[in-house]
Symmetry: C2
Subunit: 340 residues, 2 copies
């Protein structure tokens, strides 16, 4: 059940009585050809059901018009939303995208990286799983690569992220303004800039308000559901539990909510919850979740645009670029003033 043999440019050329060069010119309209010839060729293409062979073209031009996108978790709506933005702008630019799922596993990330490399993708979009420069090999080669959402600490290169610091600051401010004093945080991975920045935003808001940050209120998670559940349980079982929890990504928030439900802690009456990452279903929850919404689609769009510019620019002028997109606080029902 192999694909039927497809017709080639040469066959089209023969049928139309022209040279392959002319057919190529028409396909890519790289230079002008007289109308009657163009017609004959187009007719021939129709008759033979000709479709240009991208593979051969790629071999010749050294451009595959394919990019790779590596994300840590396909099942996380944040990343798939970004993916939508990427795909949309990729398509309008004539690119296809190979999506790879690293499952938050550095080893899988590395193998994906190298198969993408062997496949001669023109560039790569990467949300790394850890702070180690798994991308060293690529960046050393001056290979077009742009990071998104997550960037390793000390990274220099091209990336598009959210204004994590500002967003976390605003989120914490909101909790403070509601009157909370015992505010806990469940952080993400702290070898990634987004994890750190969110923590720092929280810290700044707390310090500004002269609120103490207890060690036990600073729980380190890893962006996975389980860690949200586990750290949540830990917080709620404290002798002096917090009255508000700021949770640094969507999956962990889910875990946290599960912990709340299990312990029958009413939200927001007993403890307010504010989660990073908005998602379709946040508003279907009971209570409706207060979240900070990242501009996911926009992030994907910007990242892909940057990557395409990158690929197109044959210069080795690897200009650095760090685009930061503003995030938005969406106040719903999971945050309220603390009970007296």
């Amino acid at each position: 059940m192999m694909a039927k043999k497809r017709s080639t440019m040469l066959e089209v050329a023969r049928l139309a009585g022209v040279s392959v060069g002319t057919v190529s010119a028409i396909v890519n309209n790289s230079h002008s050809v007289r109308p009657h010839l163009r017609e004959r060729v187009e007719e021939a293409m129709r008759v033979l059901d000709y479709h240009p062979n991208h593979i051969a073209r790629s071999l010749k031009t050294n451009r595959s018009y394919t990019v790779g996108m590596i994300i840590p978790d396909v099942t996380n709506p944040f990343f798939t939303d970004v993916m939508r933005g990427v795909e949309d702008t990729a398509r309008t630019g004539g690119y296809s995208v190979i999506l790879c799922n690293s499952n938050e596993d550095p080893a899988q990330e590395r193998t994906h990286l190298s198969t993408l490399f062997a496949r001669r993708v023109d560039g790569i979009l990467l949300a790394p799983t850890d702070g180690h420069a798994a991308e060293d090999r690529l960046t050393h080669r001056r290979f077009p690569i742009v990071f998104f959402d997550r960037i390793p600490t000390g990274f220099r290169g091209q990336a598009v992220v959210a204004e994590n610091f500002e967003a976390a600051y605003a989120a914490t401010r909101h909790l403070i303004e509601l009157g909370h004093q015992r505010i806990a945080i469940i952080t993400g991975k702290l070898d990634l800039r987004n994890g750190i920045d969110r923590l720092e935003g929280y810290r700044k808001a707390m310090q500004e308000a002269h609120l103490p940050i207890y060690d036990e209120y600073l729980q380190r998670g890893d962006f996975q559901l389980e860690s949200g559940y586990d750290r949540g349980l830990r917080l709620l079982k404290l002798a002096q539990p917090p009255t508000a929890i700021f949770c640094c990504n969507n999956k962990m928030t889910l875990g946290l909510m599960r912990a709340l439900a299990e312990l029958q802690v009413p939200c927001p009456q007993k403890v307010s919850v504010l989660g990073f990452d908005d998602f379709d279903w946040a508003s279907s929850f009971r209570p409706k979740l207060t979240t900070v919404a990242q501009p996911t689609f926009e992030m994907g769009k910007k990242a892909m645009e940057l990557l395409m510019r990158n690929i197109e620019a044959s210069e080795e002028g690897g200009e650095e670029a760090l685009i930061a997109l503003p995030a938005e606080l969406r106040i719903r029902e999971s945050t309220a003033p603390p009970s007296p």
Copy 2:
């Protein structure tokens, strides 16, 4: 910032003092070569940081080791779960997968289909957006294609789906056994077999129990969140609303829950909800959702395996194959006996 020029097989051959044929033999170990030569060549590959050019290989072998996967909605966890299964088995088979999102839009589906075709993917995995045979062109060419989850009515070919009929039957039975009599259904698209089969499973269970199916209780949705919300509202506002609702996919269930919340209808006290498709977060909901869980990962795995067999089999023996996977009813808190 183009990629640095990469070394070729010829360069490796020269450095090692052998012919390219020998290098090729070593790379693919297609035939034996004496140990000392092999060593020299491998050393040369290391020195030059040689990576075989998949593009050139594809051109020659007429195999891209890439498949396309078209899904109607990347943001639907059902499909991304399937994707995980696909990617996993693809990788072990040496394949990469280009993921395309049709956004439930037949036009986008068609354009994706044709760009995948132009890119010379070896095969395609498709969950179509409608019953029209958009894939006609492909199937006519005897192009390796396997459908999953959704298949057009009257389809003959290769596909892997869930046992939709049986699952819907079991789900409805569960509601009946709880004592419900006024059971409504929000169906999916009815030009797709999965939509139909779920409806038929419901119908059979109802008829067997000699329960009437009122026209107003049979609400046709389209697998999107909004339709679940809208049809849910309609059902709840009926003079004689149902005491249980069977909802035919996850997104619509979300919409339905939103409608319930908006109208302040307590679930399951006033109306029980049973949703098709389980997902990570179904159990984080309040109430925890009773769902029928499809074997998503398994479905992706089976589909990819079938596709690979298909591609490998150069025979044109287009054997039909319809693999149906059992689904599992997960009883949680959103279903209960009707209030008296």
